[in-house]
């Protein structure tokens, strides 16, 4: 199946070793024949390692490029499809990321770019045997999906995360034409859901599917088509259905695929299921390979216990779409001893809390009492976290989402004590994403002591600029303690009231930091300067609503080419500053996004700076100005 591409033989080199040429010559010689070197290098998967390998010498560069099967492009504008095609002739799998991360939060206007189509056009000629495409934050159209489905005969795996611009019609094309499809993974995209007919487009003869994830699609699919599909795809190991699939239907599906390793259920609430509950329970227990469970929409105590036996084997439990009460959560977690990763949101109801009731009895609605109520309800949310701390000692990753972050009347949440309980019980924690309404420096210091292995620490105190609620001080010491104790830290997101001191700590201690997200923080340009000077391995820096100006921006002049990108929005950077940066560093693309209102005040409201070997964008929309 390999395309007939010839490569130069380097036989001469080997000969000169044998003749024992002079020392100068021999240092330039590659000791292994190409084939051997390529064979060895083909075992290296990590793209970072491969980058290092390619820098050793020309021979290794060539061997590496011929042996590479998977290419990872972290910023689609840093390189062009032609350049990729020229360097790597034998690619089978591509991962491509497009828009800046803040586009997830509506900070990037539509039609910004990151269109996958030009890439597909080039790939169709150079990599006709492309098998895998994984896209994140790319603009994907139905035409592109159809093009993909019809031009790549051996195409196997499609994964779309946070993409937009396509509809379920595009999925129809994939289902219809990709005869060898093994993976269809549709996650959290801006998809135009026109119905569930796409699933019925898989032909009767199609049996190769191994991974199917359509949990994020809202329309109902034909259950009949789904059941038939699942029953004929004997290698299916990942199945994540959407909310429309009932418990009864889930049971039927599980009958066909007991070898599942990952399951995303549909709705977990039903008035009455058709068979006995024990049968249902057994079905779950029979899935001996199940290690990941998600979905569980609308789960209630009625049926949740059926998964308890399966829980013992689970390593990843995603409850972020389930609405569990804290006692239900506690009961569930009690069974999850092997859990490594846990995602959930604080949609917990309190069990009867006498203290709360007493306070509500009080007739005076003074503000003080209001605050106490607020605290108590958050503490109740902490109960779930206490359960995590006590039941899941192997936990490595925890993500806690807020229940309804935009409705301030729903006072659900967690406090710092919940986080501390988890850190005490789960010393192996390395990835945390935590949304809360209040935090203290002392708590974070304790957490840092308990969990020194953090690689990803993302703390979001939801009220911008909020200080330590007990001492009223800035949260500088909190993040200081994290960067001091957690030497392996790669990713950090900070929040709360923060002065330049935080950045001083980060610059001084976070030597392995690669990604930093900053919002509503800092007191002066110094903040950003500390980070740019101190964080040697910094790759991505995204900043919003901070008082950093041109001096800060320009302090990174020598740094940006070693980074993937810089994002600054609602800071104090001006057009002049950006223009200076662009002038000094022609190999950077300095893009400024114009404001909606068309203000011409010289301010650069949204700045996106990234290194590129492809030069300025040719597809920039009118509101993006490349300097």
């Amino acid at each position: 199946m390999d395309p007939n591409l010839k490569k130069p033989k380097l036989v001469d080199r080997v000969d000169s070793v044998a003749t024992g040429g002079d020392p100068c010559e021999s240092t330039r010689v590659c000791r292994f024949p190409d084939d051997v070197l390529e064979r060895v290098l083909s075992l290296i998967d990590s793209h970072k390692d491969r980058s290092s390998v390619s820098l050793v010498c020309k021979e290794w560069y060539n061997a590496e490029r011929w042996s590479r099967r998977h290419v990872f492009i972290g910023n689609c504008y840093s390189v062009s499809p032609e350049i990729v095609a020229a360097r790597f002739p034998r690619i089978r799998s591509v991962t491509l990321k497009g828009k800046p991360r803040f586009s997830d939060f509506n900070l990037v206007p539509e039609d910004w770019g990151a269109d996958v189509h030009p890439w597909l056009c080039v790939f169709s000629t150079v990599y006709p045997f492309l098998e895998e495409l994984r896209l994140k934050r790319m603009a994907v159209s139905d035409e592109s999906l159809e093009f993909l489905a019809t031009n790549f005969k051996g195409f196997k795996a499609l994964s779309l995360l946070s993409c937009d611009g396509f509809s379920t019609d595009g999925l129809k094309a994939i289902a219809t034409h990709c005869k060898n499809l093994t993976e269809l993974d549709i996650q959290e995209n801006g998809i135009d859901d026109l119905g569930g007919h796409w699933l019925s487009c898989f032909p009767e003869s199609f049996t190769s599917l191994e991974i199917l994830n359509f949990a994020s699609l809202n329309s109902e699919v034909s259950f009949d088509a789904l059941e038939k599909l699942v029953s004929r795809c004997k290698s299916l190991r990942v199945l994540k259905v959407n909310r429309n699939i009932s418990l009864d239907q889930l049971q039927k599906l599980l009958l066909h695929c007991p070898l599942l390793t990952e399951l995303g259920t549909g709705t977990f609430m039903q008035e009455v299921i058709s068979g006995p509950v024990t049968e249902f329970k057994n079905m779950f227990s029979n899935c001996k390979n199940l290690v990941t469970l998600s979905g569980l929409w609308d789960a209630t105590p009625l049926y949740l216990p059926v998964i308890y036996t399966a829980c013992a084997r689970l390593t990843f439990l995603n409850l972020s779409y389930a609405t569990l009460r804290s006692d239900e959560l506690t009961n569930l977690l009690y069974h999850c001893k092997s859990l490594r990763r846990l995602w959930f949101d604080i949609y917990t109801l309190p069990s009867k809390c006498a203290l709360v009731f007493e306070i509500l009895e009080c007739k005076e609605k003074e503000k003080g009492i209001m605050v106490t109520l607020f605290k108590i309800s958050d503490e109740i949310g902490d109960k779930g976290l206490e359960a995590v701390g006590s039941c899941c000692p192997l936990l490595e990753e925890l993500r806690v989402f807020p229940a309804d972050p935009f409705d301030q009347e729903i006072f659900l949440g967690v406090t710092e004590s919940g986080f501390v309980s988890v850190s005490r019980g789960c010393p192996k924690l390395r990835y945390v994403l935590y949304f809360c309404r209040q935090m203290t420096n002392a708590a974070v210091a304790t957490i840092a002591q308990n969990c020194p292995d953090f690689t990803h620490f993302r703390l979001c105190i939801m009220n911008p600029g909020q200080p330590d609620y007990l001492t009223k001080e800035p949260m500088d010491e909190a993040f200081g303690s994290i960067v001091k104790a957690c030497t392996k830290l790669q990713r950090l997101a900070i929040s709360g009231l923060l002065t330049d001191r935080t950045f001083e700590y980060i610059g001084k201690y976070a030597k392995n930091l690669e990604t930093l997200s900053v919002a509503f923080a800092g007191s002066s340009d110094l903040g950003m300067e500390y980070v740019l000077k101190g964080c040697m391995k910094l790759k991505k820096l995204e900043i919003r609503d901070c008082p950093f100006g041109n001096a800060a921006l320009l302090s990174g002049l020598t740094k940006y080419e070693s980074m993937r990108s810089l994002w600054m929005s609602a800071c104090n950077v001006t057009m002049n500053g950006c223009q200076m940066l662009a002038k000094e560093r022609p190999r950077l693309n300095v893009e400024v996004m114009r404001d909606d209102e068309g203000n011409d005040d010289g301010q650069a409201h949204k700045v996106y700076v990234y290194r590129s070997v492809a030069g300025p964008r040719k597809d920039a929309p009118p509101f993006v100005l490349t300097l």
Binding site: K365, D404, D407, Q408, E409
Partner: protein
């Protein structure tokens, strides 16, 4: 500032608007004081001239859920159609009895809400893209509030949803539900039971009243003795009624908010604190 405020015992919505208002700018708290004292002057009669103006400014398109006016406007405001007509307001003011209005919530300028349940009108929530949660997840959480999984964008426009608040005595927070997705009292009670886990009407259905739309008074009295909680709702006129008295269709037309009360309070159909309704029993 702590202006001593008295209002009926609704629940946190009142207090929350108080909290929000005290967090807002100084200007609006001055307005609070001014309006408050103006109100004192006019006492029991018609509303303030200022009210109508603020009211129209702050009208949202979704008449059924008026966050800011919950407490302050009393029930009176909540039933008025937000089409800017003055008539409704007058009718409302006729009904106001001995209540004192929490002007804070009225005086506070409200940015128009695009969707029910999202973007509360306080300054900090207006920040674009904050907290940093993906739109997909944001919409899914909002749609988790309703049973329906078909609400693709979470809170859609007025035509599809009828969000009302549900508060429970003893619970430190409210929930919101979309009445349009239920078809009878049984479904509603099941959903609320799930949400609050201590709920009388659920027992009603399981006692074999399922299918009937009405609860008879005798049934209700039986239940009141047995259990702790009772579901009541506030209707268009601002009165608190027991849920189950009227046909379902009429109920969702007139229901503005729900409240799960302690059984002892519900006897007599009037909670302790509300001293209104001299016109009705």
């Amino acid at each position: 500032m702590s202006v001593p405020l008295e209002h009926d015992y609704i629940g946190l919505s009142d207090a929350s608007s108080l909290e929000r208002s005290s967090e807002s700018s100084n200007i609006s708290s001055d307005d609070v004081t001014n309006n408050f004292f103006n109100l004192k002057a006019t006492e029991l009669s018609l509303g303030l001239p200022g009210f109508a103006k603020n009211y129209e400014e702050n009208a949202t398109k979704h008449g059924s859920v008026i966050k800011n006016y919950m407490s302050g406007a009393k029930r009176g405001f909540s039933d008025v159609n937000f089409n800017g007509s003055g008539k409704g307001i007058d009718a409302v003011f006729d009904k106001i009895q001995t209540q004192q209005i929490i002007s804070s919530s009225v005086a506070k300028p409200v940015k128009e809400e695009k969707k029910n349940g999202s973007v509360p009108p306080s300054a900090k929530a207006q920040v674009v893209g904050w907290p940093p949660i993906r739109s997909f997840r944001k919409n899914t959480m909002a749609s988790n509030l309703s049973k329906s999984g078909d609400v693709a964008e979470g809170n859609s426009g007025a035509e599809g949803c009828l969000y009302v608040k549900v508060s429970m005595d003893g619970a430190p927070y409210l929930r919101k539900i979309d009445l349009k997705i239920y078809h009878n009292y049984a479904e509603l009670s099941k959903a609320l039971e799930k949400m609050f886990s201590c709920f009388t009407l659920g027992q009603c259905s399981s006692n074999g009243i399922k299918g009937k739309e009405r609860l008879t008074e005798s049934n209700l009295k039986d239940i009141l003795h047995k259990s702790e909680c009772v579901l009541t709702y506030e209707d268009k006129d601002g009165d608190w009624m027991l849920v189950g008295d009227v046909p379902w269709g009429m109920f969702i037309d007139s229901c503005k908010r729900l409240r799960i009360m302690k059984g002892s309070e519900a006897i007599g159909l009037a909670p302790r604190r509300t001293e209104k309704c001299t016109n009705r029993n």
